[in-house]
């Protein structure tokens, strides 16, 4: 059995791959995962995981209101807008496509 199914994982990650690329990635991933498997030599059952090198908790800023970014600047990069005021998104629910 193969360790990774690239086709399935690519779908999870929302990446379209053509079959040639998928085949190449499948091979490359298996090589990389075999290398990563060297970690299984280590017994880490009693070790705590490190998510961050710097342990800081409850970092809060003062609760002061600030002037937000202007809407037109924030929307300037949107692929499509509705009258420059809203981001126009593709239909989310099938059957509700634009008429």
């Amino acid at each position: 059995m193969k360790i990774i199914d690239v086709k399935y994982v690519a779908a999870l990650a929302r990446l379209e791959l053509d079959s040639e690329k998928e085949e190449r990635l499948q091979k490359e991933m298996e090589t990389i995962l075999n290398y990563v498997d060297s970690l299984s030599e280590l017994d880490v059952s009693s070790i705590e995981p490190t998510a961050h090198a710097v342990q800081m908790t409850n970092v809060l800023r003062d609760d002061i209101s600030e002037i937000p970014f202007p809407r037109e600047e924030m929307l300037a990069n949107a692929p499509e807008t509705v009258g420059g005021e809203l981001i126009k998104v593709p239909a989310v629910i099938p059957g509700e496509e634009e008429n």
């Binding site: 990774i4 690239v6 994982v9 690519a10 779908a11 999870l12 990650a13 929302r14 990446l15 379209e16 791959l17 690329k21 990635l25 490359e28 991933m29 090589t31 990389i32 995962l33 290398y35 990563v36 498997d37 060297s38 970690l39 299984s40 280590l42 880490v44 070790i47 705590e48 995981p49 490190t50 998510a51 961050h52 090198a53 710097v54 800081m56 970092v59 800023r61 003062d62 970014f69 600047e73 924030m74 300037a76 990069n77 949107a78 692929p79 499509e80 981001i87 998104v89 593709p90 239909a91 989310v92 099938p94």
Partner: protein, 489 residues
């Protein structure tokens, strides 16, 4: 004007500007002229807007004329890696997916540089989303190594390192997730400094792996690296992981060490036993060790027993974080959107067309290690090994002040030489542990290899150990056999 611009530093430029020997406009014009001649070969810059640069330089000269300079560095140009936002400029991360996106705000480091009057001098090429060690993963162009244009400059901050090495700009900003400042600095014969994780705000740095990313300077010498760190570091309310201010000034007292008596330099035995360590690089390290000894430093053997697992650990943790961070690039709110029949197809096609091969590879690997059924076996395991790697350093620093290793197992390699992704990953074997542990590391040019290419040495200090690390690096730089590293381009 008899100024050798190809070797000009920030601190020398500050003196020249102060003494009215040169103006910011003259300085920037000289660099633009040099870049015009060299860029067809080097291709370090993705954007170099002469008008924008000169208008900043003119403003700086006006401030100086009115005795309103913002700092001693007012008017000195600094290039910016293309993953750090500057308001009104594009920030593509060398990716197609962000080709036309214009940044609506300044990164904190940019705000700080502007506050001191630095001139922002173009945007430098990189591996797409900082994923790579050669700059070959840029969606736009391949940057060449100024020492040998048949070789890569390293990566991911390859454009920044190449631009400084070629003397196209005084200094540059890079970002370092697994060695992306230090490795290209080493391959291009310039200084590259990654401060302790959290020292410099990441606000405005497009995230690759949030628990590892750190902005840092690429410069001609250690003093310049200290100057830029002074300008950029400090607590930022916009980055919850930024460390509290320590009010240190790293560029002051750099000369305070007259020798290295009482300083212990740790040599991790694992690093010198590694397969694939070039014999010339090893010789350069041995020569450098003699320099440290002649200065009175004591060499002590230390052990980093888990360093051999660093690359594997990194490719679990960094890709997991990347797959989450890059999920936001979906063509909905900004960037290129591929029109398709349904929302799902919009995502699939936008991301399929927008990301290059290495980015896809890492998103897939990261998605896999986080996926149901594999999370504990890979991701949690990687985080646990990260604890062991961090502990190794803590143990080692009980015996020494800084740790010395090569930066890279080889000098700059040829384009296309590392076509196998795993071989490319192993190019970062000496730099990756520092990011996993979170401590600070610097690459300082040490020697010229028999093949004519520069060799860097890495010094790694403990958390928050920048001051001592920079002082030790500075005294080495003053005493190394080769004084200047200038490519013959």
């Amino acid at each position: 004007m008899s100024i050798r611009i190809e070797n000009l530093t920030i601190h020398e430029s500050a003196r020249l500007l102060e003494g009215k020997k040169i103006s910011s406009v003259e300085l920037c014009k000289a660099y633009l002229e040099r870049a015009k001649n060299l860029e067809p070969k080097v291709k370090a810059f993705l954007k170099l807007n002469e008008e924008e640069i000169l208008s900043q330089a003119q403003a700086s000269d006006r401030r100086r004329a009115e005795s309103k300079k913002l700092s001693p560095y007012d008017g000195i140009p600094v290039a910016v890696k293309d993953n750090i936002t500057v308001k009104g400029q594009t920030c593509t991360c060398a990716s197609k997916i962000l080709q036309k996106v214009v940044s609506p705000y300044d990164a904190t480091v940019i705000r700080k540089l502007k506050g001191k009057g630095f001139v922002l001098f173009g945007r430098t090429n990189m591996d797409e989303f900082a994923m790579g060690s050669s700059c070959e993963n840029s969606a736009y162009q391949k940057t060449a190594n100024p020492w040998n244009v048949g070789c890569v400059p390293g990566g991911s901050s390859g454009g920044s390192a190449a631009s400084v090495a070629a003397g196209e700009v005084t200094a540059a900003l890079g970002s370092d997730t697994g060695g992306s400042i230090r490795q290209p600095a080493s391959l291009c014969g310039v200084v590259g400094f990654k401060p302790t994780y959290g020292r410099i705000s990441r606000y405005g740095l497009i995230a690759f792996a949030s628990s590892l990313d750190q902005i840092g300077p690429i410069t001609r010498d250690v003093e310049d690296a200290a100057i830029l760190t002074d300008v950029m570091y400090g607590r930022d309310s916009k980055d919850a992981t930024s460390l509290p201010d320590t009010n240190e000034k790293f560029s002051e007292g750099l000369d305070s060490l007259k020798d290295l008596k009482g300083i212990k330099i740790g040599l991790p035995k694992e690093c010198f036993e590694i397969e694939g360590l070039d014999t010339g690089v090893r010789k350069s390290m041995e020569k450098s060790i003699e320099v440290f000894k002649s200065l009175g430093a004591e060499m002590v053997q230390v052990s980093l027993p888990h360093s051999k697992y660093a690359v594997a650990t990194y490719y679990v943790i960094a890709t997991a974080e990347a797959s989450a961070n890059l999920a936001r690039f979906d063509g909905i709110r900004y960037g290129n959107r591929v029109k398709a029949d349904s929302l799902l197809e919009t995502y699939l096609e936008t991301r399929g067309a927008g990301f290059g091969d290495e980015v896809k590879r890492r998103i897939i690997l990261g998605t896999f290690v986080l996926s149901s059924g594999y999370y504990d076996a890979y991701y949690t395991k990687g985080q646990k090994v990260r604890t062991l790697i961090r502990r190794d350093f803590q143990e080692a620093y009980k015996k020494c002040d800084v740790i010395l290793t090569p930066v890279s197992p080889t000098t700059a390699f040829k384009f296309g030489e590392k076509s196998d992704p795993l071989q490319m990953y192993l190019a970062d074997i000496f730099t990756i542990s520092t990011n996993l542990a979170g401590n600070c590391g610097i690459s300082v040019p040490a020697d010229i290899h028999a093949n004519g290419l520069p060799v860097g040495l890495q010094l790694v200090g403990p958390d928050m150990g920048e001051k001592q690390l920079l002082r030790i690096s500075h005294i080495f730089e003053k005493n190394r056999a080769i004084k200047e590293f200038i490519p013959g381009i």
